[in-house]
Amino acid sequence: MAAGDPLLMIGSRARSPRAFAIFFIALSLLILLTATNCVREVDITLEQRSHQLAGDLMCPVCDGQTLDGSNAQIAVDMRLKVRELLDSGNTNAEVKDYFVARYGEEILAAPESSGFNLLAYIVPVVIVFGGIGIALITIKNMRKSAAQVNYSGTQTVSSPNEPADLSDYLAKVDRDLGIYIQPASSESYDVSSSQSDKENS
């Protein structure tokens, strides 16, 4: 995980905020992908495994409860069955298949990610990445329209652009926040960027 840390980007190799942004997005995608694939693990005692499996199976007679959460007699029996199947060496998948064969797909607390049920998992991915994509495109378009807005002058309905000189006020804000930025001492940063640093309030 450490290799994907934003800090590495801020060091000497940092070129621009945009590089950081792209890097950050790539990083989050990577995390999302890894996280999706190992929420539950199997390298634990049989007992913990049977509890987790009980959480993956629904109680057939209770509304919306898993075996794990139910005190109904059938849930007790089914939990014992889960444990028995695990004791005799079955894998998690085999245990689930055992119950699906008897109770139908409905017994699984989450649909299997195969066949038609792949839809259940593809749609969320589309929603999440589609959402982030729309957000990024919106930001990009809003940036593009910046120039047009300024020239056409019609889009700014109720308020004018930023007031011309806020430097006194901003300096005060900086003092309050304890930010002491040396005024453009380094050549590598242009004035406008350090100006906007100061507006950090």
Binding site: A35, E41, E105, A109, I127, L177, N200
Partner: protein, 691 residues
């Protein structure tokens, strides 16, 4: 009493019709008096709803068993304090409660509405009146709580045993109040749009009412989680149940709104977006009402199930249509004043945060609807429960926490690499260090370790801001506490937000701990036997029983010992060969290092009339972990069957509540001090005073 209630409801119905018609006609014909009269009529509906509620509560107090609702939800030996709970324990009563809450907050919000909204007030009044009209109508004609029985029974059925818990005095009212509360910002914004009031006049009203609603809904959900954890014996606090999800979805959208409304307030951007968010939240709240009242999904919360599904579905579709049409009609007028300048700006990070919240909402909605979809598309039933949502929403929620550390550190407009380095260095280091330390300590589960690193990153970013601001003020003479206090007071929306963020971090700690590191075992103990899990030994010391008319309660007195697992190495090794982490011990003699640390009393009540059990878990809670004992059953042979778990960091889930409430209140507290923004300067260039 019943007659009084029925009449009050009919009167309310007439008043709300008058208010709706009066407001619209008065506005169209420019008859100011008519609008004033409509406004007063809307105040009077509150009285009508209050009288009807009073009549129902009085019927409970008097044990008036001629009323069906009273028979169904109370009896003579019910604890009198639960009359208030019985009031909203079923479908009809909870509708009346919702109406009362709506009428009350409508009146309050209209009373306090700022003068400059005068032009759009008739429309706001009309919208509120129409929504009240819907509830008055349903209560008068379809689901009357005052329905009478032909033969009066001597005894009522009693209150649902699951509801007899202190949490029930606040959880359902807050949740229902929060859901209906979304109506207020929606009505104000829609009113402004219809009236053609496109400016930002509605921002403050919408923001304040949305934050209150959001806080109430959030608190209600937390209390519900607490209730589930302590009483239901589900062993959990959040099951991603459809009814939980339909409350979560509008809350998520409101969360997006309370963030992005700040962008409109400060930068004049995202107008269209904010209106859309409120519309979505309102429609989702109606979806919640629909699913609650006989929606087509299976849920553990079937307290208010009824046959009103079609009515509420129609109302939801109507509100969807209205919101959508209004939005499309007025969309061209809702342009932003300014353009986005950079990806690395606070406005951009707010937009990404908004889309992430909407993504969680969308995924949750998909999960709720997928079983229906599967049924319709291929006639095969499937279940979509916690494991699905953990897998799909878990990563996105983690992404939101990451954004929580990044967004607030970015300045408005744009930022530079230099500023990034300055602000992110320290939090990133802290996050990394946390990960390294946890790995070095041999902690397992990479995802959880990463999540802890993220939590540390965000905590460090908040501390950093507070540290810088506080030290600056400290240098100018304040003592540390005053310096921090002034910092918070200087910009309450921002720092209240940080306090809420801290509460979310606590919640995250609890969620990570309980989801990734929970240990469990089951067992059946006879008196004198113990069960051992990790470094706890729980001995079944004594049993208790009490039989009342409505229930048979049994409880187990148990002593909790902290043990040194070395003393039990033989047994532990044997249990391990059986694949167990916990085991039962017949011999109750103490060993060398056994140390009595607590007494717990898991309680199990059976209610024959309802054929329903209600349990109270025995919990020993510490800041590090909870030892949690669910009494599953008292067996015929005298043993008690229990499920024992160690829930790491669960304590933090409940501590987050007060912080959430305090943070929300700080953010809401009216700002008298000069705000930390160029208000005065800007006003010189901005004659309209809008910015």
């Amino acid at each position: 009493m019943a007659d009084l209630g029925v009449m009050a409801l009919l009167l309310g119905l007439a008043l709300s019709i008058y208010a709706a018609v009066g407001a619209i006609v008065g506005e169209k014909t420019a008859m100011a008096e008519l609008v004033v009269s409509a406004r007063r009529a809307l105040y009077m509906t509150t009285l009508a709803a209050a009288v009807a509620s009073g009549a129902l509560i009085n019927a409970f107090v008097q044990n008036d068993f001629s009323i069906k609702y009273v028979v169904d939800h109370s009896n003579t030996f019910m604890d009198r304090a639960f009359v208030w709970v019985a009031f909203y324990a079923g479908n009809e009563g909870s509708l009346l409660y919702i109406l009362l809450a709506l009428a009350l907050i409508s009146a309050i919000s209209i009373w306090f509405a700022p003068k400059r909204l005068a032009r759009s007030m008739p429309w706001t009044i009309a919208i509120l009146a129409i929504i009240q009209l819907f509830y008055f109508g349903v209560l008068s004609f379809v689901a009357s709580p005052f329905e009478l029985l032909d033969t009066i029974p001597l005894e009522g059925r009693g209150i649902n045993p699951l509801l007899t818990h202190p949490g029930m005095f606040s959880h359902p009212p807050l949740l229902m109040g929060g859901l209906i509360g979304i109506t207020i910002p929606f009505a104000f914004v829609s009113g402004a749009l219809i009236a053609g009031n496109y400016g930002d006049d509605w921002i403050d009203v919408a923001r304040v009412s949305a934050i209150i609603t959001w806080g109430v809904l959030g608190t209600g959900m937390l209390l519900g989680a607490w209730w589930a954890y302590t009483i239901l014996g589900w062993g959990g606090y959040w099951a991603w149940d459809p009814i939980e999800n339909v409350a979560l979805m509008p809350w998520l959208v409101l969360t997006a709104f309370v963030h992005s409304i700040m962008v409109q307030k400060r930068r004049g951007m995202f107008r269209m977006w904010n209106v859309a968010l409120l519309n979505i939240a309102f429609v989702l709240a109606q979806l919640g009402m629909f699913i609650n009242r006989g929606g087509p999904v299976v849920s553990v919360h079937s307290f208010a199930a009824s046959s009103l599904g079609v009515i509420f579905l129609s109302f939801m579709l109507a509100s969807l249509l209205f919101a959508f049409a209004l939005f499309l009609w007025r969309m061209p007028q809702l342009k932003s004043d300014r353009a986005m300048e950079s990806f690395m700006s606070r406005e951009a990070s707010f937009l990404i945060n908004n889309f992430l919240f909407l993504a969680v909402m969308g995924v949750t909605l998909w999960g709720v609807l997928y079983p229906l979809f599967s049924d319709l598309a291929r006639d095969i039933s499937v279940s979509v429960s916690a494991p699905y949502f953990d897998r799909t929403n878990g990563p996105v929620l983690l992404g939101i926490v990451v954004m929580m550390g990044i967004g607030p550190l970015l300045p408005w407009r744009k930022t530079s690499a230099r500023s990034m380095k300055q602000w992110f260095m320290w939090p990133t280091l802290v996050g990394l260090l946390t990960i390294i330390v946890l790995v070095a300590l041999g902690v397992q589960r990479p995802i959880a370790i990463f999540a802890f690193g993220v939590v540390a990153f965000v905590a460090a970013s908040i501390s950093e801001e507070w540290w810088r601001g506080t030290t600056a003020r400290h240098r100018s003479g304040d003592n540390w506490v005053m310096a921090w206090w002034r910092l918070v007071n200087g910009n309450r929306p921002r720092h209240g937000g940080y306090i809420v963020h801290i509460s979310i971090l606590m919640l995250a700690l609890g969620i990570i701990g309980t989801n990734f590191y929970q240990q469990r075992t089951d067992g059946a103990l006879a008196l004198g036997e113990s069960i051992i899990l990790d470094n706890y030994r729980i001995e079944y010391v004594d049993e208790g029983e009490s039989i009342r008319d409505d229930r048979i309660a049994k409880w187990a007195e148990m002593s909790v010992y902290e043990i040194n697992p070395d003393d039990y190495s033989q047994e532990i090794a044997f249990a391990a060969t059986q694949g167990s982490s916990g085991f039962t011990l017949k011999d109750s003699r103490l060993r060398e290092n056994d140390n009595l640390i607590d007494q717990i009393e898991p309680w199990h009540g059976f209610y024959p009339d309802f054929n329903m059990a209600s349990v109270r878990s025995g919990i020993r809670s510490t800041i590090v972990e909870d030892l949690y004992v669910i009494p599953r059953d008292f067996l015929a042979d005298g043993r008690v069957s229990i499920a024992v778990s160690i829930n790491p960091l669960a304590w933090w889930l409940w501590v987050s509540g007060p912080f959430f409430i305090i943070g929300t209140m700080v953010a809401l507290w009216p700002q008298h001090a000069v705000e930390r923004r160029p208000v005065r300067k800007r006003k010189l260039d901005d004659p309209e005073g809008e910015n």
